[in-house]
């Protein structure tokens, strides 16, 4: 490991991190070998992939290295639904040791399977992410990602155990008990969705407990897009360092990539998950540095190899090397998903833009929800914002000034007129998993 330039803040290099620092040519060699094997596996055992490749006149022999990945057909969420439940599995069920599934709120659920080797890949990927963000075996970690069919809880759990940390598998919900455990169990780190952690901070506040005075040092958050402003908010209110872990069930679950100690982009564990950026309109690959849709191929998974999966996440691949010295490439944090976007009066709007505007106007992150409605055949956006005790005043004119200020801040960012409704604290439902930011009550004719 002589050639490694290593820049961790605590100066501690662990052998498990070596894969993050492979020389680029070595990394490409591994990627090429793994892609070739994965394409062969998928072609031979998954009729869906064989059919798609045949449509393009491809055989596994055409894929000679990682650069040939651009020849392969894309896959999408719809393909996973259409082949529900096991249609994309490439191995016999006796080799599958784990199943997970999406909640299926937007249609049929999707089912994903893992062999024991896949589980090891997953566990090691999460562990590498944890190490990169400074988690160590001395940490006592409260894992409030949901356990069960959702990949979040168990995915993070296995990585933490492999690291040797002490895991508290509390799952989501029962916020007051979460706070009791945070305090009484001397918890040093947490994992979960960022919106639920914000809720925990708020409830603790009401209970007279200042989270920033506990032993908490760091947290790993994911499963929903969260803005840089939300990170600042979490860090300032709780005194922890908040890291972004990226993943999606179709590919793995959490651990496809993770930030390092420097919090400047998500390192993709590209020896297992190969990232590309494409133009979502033309589907043409874009060079590193350009923004587009993230496409990921699993190049070492066996139970369910997924090639060129369109994630719907909008980002770019960073061109500069990270100061941590890792050679695996980084993507910019996901601020928006094309799935979350809504179109109002012909304008594309992302909830994260509204979050950014609220943070800018209030210097704090109020709870909010975006309600889309139709009135007199016109689509309207109504942003419901909970007022905090600090925001309220005794005069209606002051309160109107707050809603006017919020309205202007949002309109400046998204460019169309909106309404702002001030609401009582606690009146917008809290989520214990992924936050539901947009309610669409529009009548589509």
């Amino acid at each position: 490991m002589k050639n490694i330039s290593w820049n961790d803040q605590d100066g501690l290099f662990l052998p498990e991190m070596a894969l993050d620092f492979l020389p680029p040519e070595k990394l490409r060699e591994i990627q090429s070998q793994r892609l070739i094997a994965t394409v062969k596996l998928a072609y031979d055992h998954v009729p869906f992939f064989r059919a798609r490749m045949e449509e393009k006149g491809l055989t596994p022999g055409d894929i000679k290295g990682i650069d040939d990945i651009v020849l392969l057909p894309f896959s999408m969420k719809k393909d996973l639904r259409d082949t529900y439940p096991y249609g994309l599995f490439a191995v016999d069920m006796k080799e599958v040791v784990r199943l997970h599934a999406s909640s299926g709120t937007t249609g049929k659920p999707i089912v994903v399977g893992y062999t024991q080797e896949d589980m090891d890949v997953w566990t090691q990927a999460v562990k590498r992410g944890l190490l990169a963000t400074g988690f160590r075996n001395t940490d006592i970690v409260q894992n409030f990602y949901g356990y069960g069919l959702f990949t979040g809880g168990l995915g993070i759990h296995y990585g933490l155990e492999a690291l040797g940390a002490t895991v508290i598998p509390i799952s989501g919900g029962n916020t007051e008990r979460q706070i009791m455990v945070l305090k009484d169990f001397n918890v040093t780190a947490v994992g979960g969705t960022p919106s639920y952690f914000v809720h925990i901070i708020d409830v603790a506040d009401k209970m007279g407990i200042d989270i920033s005075r506990l032993n908490l040092k760091r947290g790993i958050f994911g499963a929903e897009p969260w803005s840089e402003g939300m990170r600042t908010y979490i860090q300032e209110r709780s005194g922890i360092k908040a890291f972004d872990i990226y993943g999606l069930s179709e590919i793995l679950g959490p651990g496809v990539g993770c930030e390092c100690e420097h919090q400047n982009g998500i390192h993709i564990f590209e020896d297992h998950f190969f990232p590309e950026i494409i133009d979502p309109e033309t589907l043409q690959p874009l060079p590193d540095g350009e923004e587009g849709e993230l496409v990921i191929s699993t190049i070492s998974k066996r139970a369910m190899p997924i090639l060129r999966y369109r994630t719907r996440d909008i980002t770019s691949i960073e061109t500069e090397k990270c100061i941590c010295g890792r050679t695996i490439r980084r993507i910019r944090r996901i601020g928006r998903r094309s799935d979350d976007m809504f179109i109002i009066r012909g304008v594309n709007v992302y909830p994260s833009q509204i979050e950014t505007a609220l943070l800018r106007a209030e210097k704090a992150l109020p709870h909010y929800q975006i309600v889309l409605e139709t009135k007199n055949n016109m689509d309207l956006v109504d942003i419901h914002v909970e007022v905090s005790r600090e925001m309220i005043s005794d005069t209606v004119s002051d309160m109107d000034a707050i809603s006017r200020r919020l309205r202007h801040a949002i309109e400046q960012v998204i460019g169309i007129s909106v309404a702002v409704t001030l609401r009582e604290p606690g009146s917008i439902p809290r989520s214990e998993g992924k936050a539901k930011r947009t309610i669409d009550n529009r009548q589509h004719i």
Binding site: S393, D394, V396, T421, S427
Partner: protein
């Protein structure tokens, strides 16, 4: 000579006023006066209560946001023109955000008006210079209201 007024923010929904009053009642807090300012989306309930600090605390525990504002209670002669006379003093030239009558129960000769001046300190100074009698917190609590 300023007194505390509690302002409670509520959504414009049936049952919210009840919920605020019930929460205060269960904490043993008396309401000496109450008015409601409404807008399209929300209401501001303004109250003078027996213990404002405790009220903020119990409301906060029930997830209801409130704030304390300083207002001025003035004695106004109960004869015709009493309020006009008061407003003819220099304090009447100051900006008044809102005002309302306090239900003074014991003495039929005067009324108590509650003023929320934009600049309460300046108002107290001018009112006192003009000889307007201001009602102290203790007197407010002894008006006999809320018992």
């Amino acid at each position: 000579m300023k007194i505390q007024q509690l302002s409670v923010f509520v959504s414009n929904q049936p049952g919210r006023l009840h919920s605020v009053c019930r929460t205060l009642a269960e904490a043993g807090i008396n309401l000496l006066s109450i008015t409601l300012a409404d807008s399209d989306d929300f209401g501001l309930i303004r109250l003078i209560v027996s213990d404002s600090d405790k009220a903020v605390e119990v409301l906060e525990k029930s997830g209801i946001a409130s704030t304390i504002t300083e207002v001025i209670a003035c004695k106004v002669s109960a004869k015709r023109g009493g309020l006009a006379d008061l407003l003819a003093t220099p304090a009447g030239e100051l900006q008044i955000e809102y005002m309302y009558a306090f239900p003074a129960c014991r003495d039929p000769d005067y009324a108590i008006m509650i003023f929320r001046f934009h600049d309460p300190d300046k108002a107290v100074e001018l009112l006192q210079q003009s000889g307007v009698s201001l009602v102290s917190r203790r007197e407010i609590l002894n008006t006999g209201c809320g018992n």
